[in-house]
Every structure is written in C-alpha cells, then in structure tokens.
C-alpha cells in the first residue's frame, strides 16, 4: 500500500510543478498543492528536495518558504484535524479554553502555540492547530473540525463532537 501511495504522489508532484511553474507565486502554489495531495498532509524532506531539483532553485529557498508560512506542515498530520481560531474576537470569547479542552481530550500534554503550528496526538489520531483568524469573528468562538467550520462553540459542544469523532461517527 505505502509504495503505491508514494508512487502516485510522485506523479502528482511532477504534474503540479509543470502546471504551476510559470504562474505568479509559483512556489507557494506548488508547495500548497504538494501538501494538499500528500496522504499525511505534510511536506516531507523528499518532497522539498524534489521541488527544488525540478524548479532548479536552491533547497534553502524551498526550506525557507516551507518554514516561514504557518500553513505548511513539516511533520505528518493526524487522521483528523481540529483547528482552533485564536483571533481577537475568538480570544475574547474564550478560545484558549477550547484549545486546552481539545488538547486534553486527545491526550496531548503541551502545545506551545508560539513555537509550532500544529501538534499531533501520539497515536496519530488527530492534529490540533491554531489559526490567526478565520474571519468568522461575528460567530466567535470558531473551531474547524475536519474542514467544517463550527461557530459559537462551547466546551460542552466541543466535547460531544470529539467524543463522536473518537467513536468514528
């Protein structure tokens, strides 16, 4: 199984690079798409090497971009994703408590918001990350669970949703 996934990904990457290399903001576009299509939603060292090689740019440039922007993951991501908005409106309406609740429910001991973009539970079940602002401030606090934005979140609702996720619902 893993080998076909990688092979498929290689093909994708070649295609992605060819398609975007002449566009404005090509490197961001290529890295964004490469991450999107990677099975564990991250940029591996091989991916970055490949991108640098095919674009004929220094690997340091690719690495510099990949580490600069918070959107890029350099570690494999969990099966599920929980994104807690840490924007001002969400903060004033208690998003820190939501973040801590999500971490503790997934058994994640600590998460240094200012140092890393995301943290994944040891069993690889889910990743928790924060985002500067979803722009959904009117409905704060906001949490995105597996790509779906949930507004006016409360700790009670979050607990229910995570229980459901754990049960596979």
């Amino acid at each position: 199984m893993p080998s076909t996934a990688v092979a498929q990904k290689d093909g994708d990457l070649k295609h992605i690079i060819l398609e975007n290399r002449d566009k404005q903001g090509y490197l961001l576009k290529i890295l964004e798409k490469a991450q999107e299509t990677s099975p564990k939603l991250y940029l591996s060292e091989e991916t970055m090497r490949e991108v640098a090689h095919r674009l004929d740019i220094p690997l340091t440039q690719v690495y510099s971009v990949a580490t600069f922007y918070s959107f890029f993951n350099l570690k494999p991501q969990g099966l599920h994703s929980i994104v807690v908005c840490r924007g001002t409106a969400c903060h004033t309406r208690g998003s820190l408590a939501l973040l801590n609740e999500a971490l503790s429910m997934l058994g994640i001991k600590s998460f240094k918001e200012e140092e890393e973009n995301s943290v994944t539970s040891l069993d690889g079940f889910a990743s928790v990350r924060t985002v500067a602002c979803f722009g959904q401030c009117a409905l704060a606090p906001v949490v995105m669970i597996d790509g779906e934005v949930k507004s006016r979140m409360t700790i009670g609702r979050l607990v229910t949703l995570l229980h459901k996720m754990k049960k596979g619902g």
Partner: protein, 848 residues
Amino acid sequence: MSADLGALRKAGLMRLSGQTPWVSVGIGTCGKGNGADEVLAALETTLKNGKSEALARRVGCFGFCAAEPLVMAYRPGKPLLLFTDVKASKAPALAKALGDNEAFAKMAKIAEAKIEVWDFRTQKITYGEDFAYLPTWKELAFFKGQEKLVLRDAGMIDPESIEEYLAVGGYSGLIKAITTMTPDSLIEEVKKSGLRGRGGAGFPTWKKWRIMRDNALASPGESYIVCNADEGDPGAYMNRNEIESDPHMLIEGMIIGAYAMGASHGIVYVRAEYPLAVERLEKALAQAKKAGLLGKQILETRFNFDIEIVTGAGAFVCGEETALIASIEGKAGRPSPRPPFPAQKGLYGRPTSINNVETWCNIPLIVARGGEYFSSFGTPPSPGTKVFSFVGKVRNTGLVELPMGSTLESAVYGMCEGMGPKKKIKGLQSGGPSGGCIPSSLFKTPIDYEHLAELGAIMGSGGMVVMDQDNCMVDVARYFIGFTANESCGKCTPCREGTSQMLNILHGVADGEASEQDLKTLESLALSIKDSSLCGLGQTTANPVLTTLKYFKDEYIQHIKAKRCPAGVCENLYVALCESSCPLHMNIPGYLQLLKENRIEDAFELTLRENPLPGSLGRICHFHCRMRCRRDMLDESVSQGEIHRYLADSMYKMGREKSIYNKLIKEKLPASGKKIAIVGAGPAGLSAAFWLCRLGHEITIYDGSTEAGGILRWGIPAYRLPKDMLKKEITLIQKLGVKFVFNTPMESKEQWQRLIDANDAVIVAVGAGHETGLGIPGESLSGVMPAGEFLKAVSENQKPKVGSEVVVVGGGNSAIDAARSALRLGASVKIVYRRARAHWRKEYRFFA
C-alpha cells in the same frame, strides 16, 4: 454595450425581478457556519418536490452575521421579505408563501423587515409596496445609519452569476472608462472622489495611481497591479465578505485601475484561510474572461489585461507591501526597506501598485456615478464609506458600512445595540494588532483616519473588537503582543527581540510578578520599537501596549499592587470569578463548600468576617457574582442572594450568631490609640467602621439622620429589606465598640475642621444620594417627585400622597422600588423606560 453583454444583463434582470418568485439564502462563510447550506438545500428540495416554478437562489452575505442564516422572499410586485435566524424546518412554509399573494402576506407577519426598493447605486430596483405594518430594512436598528456603497450588491445578487452583476449596473463603470475616458481623466475622477486607501493607512488613491502611471510610462515593459486580500488582522473580515459576496466588483475595479495605470498584469493575493472567497473569485474571473471583459482585447479594444490569484500561506506580515511582493516571487515574506517603493521597483523589479480589496471595490462606483457622488458621503478629509466588522461583546455582530465621520457610539450602541444592562462595555480595539484600544469614554470620537490616529489607534482594515468588563486589558495587550511576536518575520532586531521582551513583561504583569518600574520599561521599549522597526508591522506593533497603558493604566496597577485581575482573566490573580467580581471579594467558593458540608455556623462566620451585613446584602445586593457565574453556561447562575439570606436568617432564627459575634469581639486587636471619624452611617461607613474597629482603632460615626443604615434604611422599601433585619445586623457593629452620633448633618466648614482636629483620620462615606434629575422641561411641576425623596418619605412611614395614577420614569432599581411602593399606596402605576423591553433586567420584566 455589446449584444452579448446585453443578453446576459437581461437574463440577470429576469432572475432578480422578473415574473418568477424566488427565495434567496445568504451564503457566505458566516452563513455556512450557521447552517445556511442546509436551509438552501431544504428549500431546493421542497420547491422541486412541490413542482413549483419558484427559484431557490444563493446570494452573498447581507452583513447581519449575528442573525444568520438570512433569507429573503420575492413575489412580483411585492416588497422583498427579510427573515432572520431561519432554520431548514421553515422551508415548507417559505415555499408555500411563494405560491400566491395570500400565503405571502401571511408569511409577511413573521418577517423581520421588508425591502420595497433597493438602490444598487448603479441601478435601482423597485420591488413593490405593501405590508404597512412591517418595518423597512432601514428601520432595523442594525441598518439604521448605514450606507451601503461597497456592500451595495452583497446579499442581493448571486456572487457566482455575472448576469446578475450586469443586471444591477455592474461593469457599466468599466465600459464607461474604456470607451469614453482616458487614463488621465480616470485618475482625475478618482482624485475628485477623494478616495483614500482602505487598507488602513489612508494614502490618497489617486496619488498612488499617478505615481504608478508615471513610472510605468517612464519604463516601458511589464507592470503589475496587486489586490491585497491578505486580510490578516484578527477581528476583521470585510474583505472576505466583499470577495465572497461580490467578486465581480473587485474584478471591475482592478480592470479599470489597470487601464488607468497602464498595467499589464493583475494579481489578487488572498489568504489561504478564505477558500470560499478564492473559489468564487476563480469562477468570476472565468466568467469575465468569457464575456470579453478580461484577457486580450477587452471590449474589443486594444487593451489587454489579465488577473491571477495567489493564495498566501498564513503569514500576517505578508499584508505589508514589500513582504507581499517577496511572497509572490516565491520567497519567504520578509519586508525590505523603502525606498525604493513598489511603484518604482516592485514585483520582479518592475513598477507595481498594491491596493486593498475595498479600495478596488470603490472604483467601479466612482467611475459609474462620478467622483462627486462618492464624496457626497463621509467628511471632506475622509470621503465615502468604510466597512467595519463589529465583533466581540455586542449584541448585533456583523459588517457595518458607515459614512466616514460617524461616531463609534452610534455604531456600538446604535447598530450593534451594545451589550444590554447586565454587562458594561469597557472599550474597543480598532485596527487589529497594529491598532489600539479605545475606552468607552471616548466613543463620541468620529471614525476617520485622523481622529483614530489621534487616539493612538488606527482604522486599519476596519476590525472593531468590542470588550466588556469581563475582558482584562492587560490580557488583551498580552494577546496582541503574543500575536505579533509570533508573526514577526525576524528580519529586524527591534521587532524580533523587542516584541518578545514586551511579552515577557506582560506575562509578568499578568502573573502578578511585575513592578511599577516594569511598566516604565515596557513603555520605553514600546516607543523604541515604534521608532526603529523596519516595516509597518514593527512600527505599529506597540500600539496595543501604548494605548492600554494610556487608557487602562489602573488595570495594570491593580495587577501589580493589589495582585488582582478585576476582570477575572489572568489565572494567577483571582480565586474564582464570583470572588473576583464581588466588591467585598468575599470567599464565595469557601462558604459554599462549608455549606455543602452542612457546617452552617462556619459558613456564616466566613461570610461575616468579610461582610457585616449578610442578611441585608443577601436581599438587596447588585450581585456582581451572578453576572460572572460560570454555572450560567449549564443552567443559571448560583443564587448567592438566596444563599446569603438562608445563612443569615437561619443563624438569627436559631440565635447562634451571638457566639460568633463574641468571637469577633474577643479577637479585636489591642487599642491603637488612634481616633477615626466616619461621616455617613450608610453601608460604606458601616463596613469601614467594622474593619477599622477590629484593628483596634476608636471609631465614631456621624450621621445627619436619626438612625444608622443610610440608603438601606431610607432608600430601600421595607418590603424588600425589613428594617428589623438591618437593625439587628447594625448591633454587631455597635457591640464591637463603634460609637454613633446621630442628627448631625455636616453643614459648615467649622464642623469639618473640628472633626479633623479631633481625629487622626476622617473618612467621608456619604454615598451618592444627590438627585440629578432628568434635565427635561416640566420637572419642577407640582406632583413630580425624585425617586429618592419619595422613597425616603415612604421609609419614614409618611405615606406620601400620590393620587390614583403614577408614572415612573426609568427602569432601574430606584424606579422599580418607587413603582412598587406607589402600587402599595393604592395607585395604578405605569413605567416609562427609554430602552426596549428586551434590554430590561430579566427579573423586572416579571412585574410588567
């Protein structure tokens, strides 16, 4: 207009105001988050199953985010009906209402408002008049005073339909520009409008365009215009909505700009966090290209221009021009020093002009209607409107488009309807991490570039986060500095090192470990970061610190000196929210626990040590603790009043308070030899005496009346606070050795001087009993009585004559006491309250 465009336009008009009834659902990201997709799907299914000819339309967001999902219903010749907070279960009723006028009229009864005519600014559509009882949309508090120029189409048309955009006059500005105007006359028109950059700095747009055009002419070859949609300010999302609801408006603005500046390429740099905006913009670009409005030979002229989208990857600093350019070039988004300015050497070293989304969005209107039309809104230095997102602690959160120069007050308390009577708004934060905090005492300030800058804030992109008593301003400053410290690109030292040092100090303040010297260091650090950073991010990063230090210094001091976080946010500095909010800081969790263990005497003792009047306060306290109680999230806040009463009443009934009184008396410290006089025997004077006399001082309380108690005795009616209860509790203070001197109003200077001479200290605890009146004509007529006077007469048992009809003006505590007392005197009572019933304290609505 070419034949093709004419046909598209006609098709759009048929959909918007033709013979086919429709129902529309506002689908922006906000709506989606609140179930708008489900509502639209339910409507589609219901209409399809009912074989109805009516349409279910998707439209953009109408801006009233707090009331999403928003739905409108249309029948030819009738006003549009606007519904708020619509659930999918409403679909059958809505579908039925589209069927005939009778059902439609029935549905109108539950509508929120109607729209009889809509001014798209480039076109007007009259829907019809009817339903006289229904307010128009403009009469709803949220929309009163708004002027929708930028948001003219938002929520009215389908953002994914170029037909509908054309139908409401879209692209008429572009056609006018390309077919009848020269680039120079276009820039002249923008100059006439007075439009200034909507990204926040407020640079005159025409000037930016002029410089760019001159540079592009001087250096033939490629040149670029960029739309900055990297809306990174937390709390601001107007750009997201502008693109999501009306992407063609942005495209049209950019094409006109390209024509005026002579640019060959356009780029929209959008945040990756806005997927729906990207999707809709992509669709709109494809439609514009197909219609010959974009690409090669636009409108069959020799003008070529194309637009590409670049999605950012989550870096706040990319909102800065030079960082944004680096990002497009495939580098990390680090800014570079200016000059050279982008207009000279920008993207790939070529002339580049970067404008904010909203700036571009204003252009089509300015061209179509003329610069003078635009400048008829707003103020002369800041013409036009600006879209603001009002979020945080207000009832109506959402996007508000205001003419420049409107006051903060009108928006916070008018459109957003404040926070109601339970919470007090403390201030707001304007302009995101680069902006500042403005206290509510300055809400009379007009909103424009200059006035906000004077306060130390900025307009920024227009995010306004409102804060109330539950927000700690130290925490707010810490939050923003944490944000910028995290987002600092690290290139220049002041910003990279300075922000993390500021953050350290703020952590110290929040943990109660800072000194006043630290505040001085914080301020000087903030000022040097402001002066010496490389880019706009660094230069403005200290604003939240500087403004909170300026306007909310008392909160910092409380954290440092009293080691208290009054809002109950900084975890190290409070025990529990109830304890923190209590003006006496009673150990509420402590006595609740004792009570739970059935140790009623211990619970009473713990209470009494901090509050000498538990039985009285249990009846009449304002209960700050209840406003902060977390139990609220489960069912309702803990009834501290009842618990206090239960404690005191049971103890008094059992007569077990005496041993505890004796304990307190025994514990008194040895006499200090100091004499203290307290003026006023109300609750403040009594508490001061209670504490001071236990410290061994000799206390005398002076009061002008015949008994102790102040407002408790003479203001609050006996049915609420039995006089015996009060008397009993005052005996404790007497037993502790406090002396009372009654019938001694302090009227002369000599009296005060004698008091000062005879004592080591004098405490003035006279309360706030002065009647201020309403300041309206007729107050001096006979029969008009201030509440205080009336209640005093009642408590003196004078039975004042009130006649048979009484009107009470106001809805607060005194008003209700007066009303209930008058009722007891046999009058029929009416209460006149200036706010809506919903804004009234819940427990009072019961009486009405």
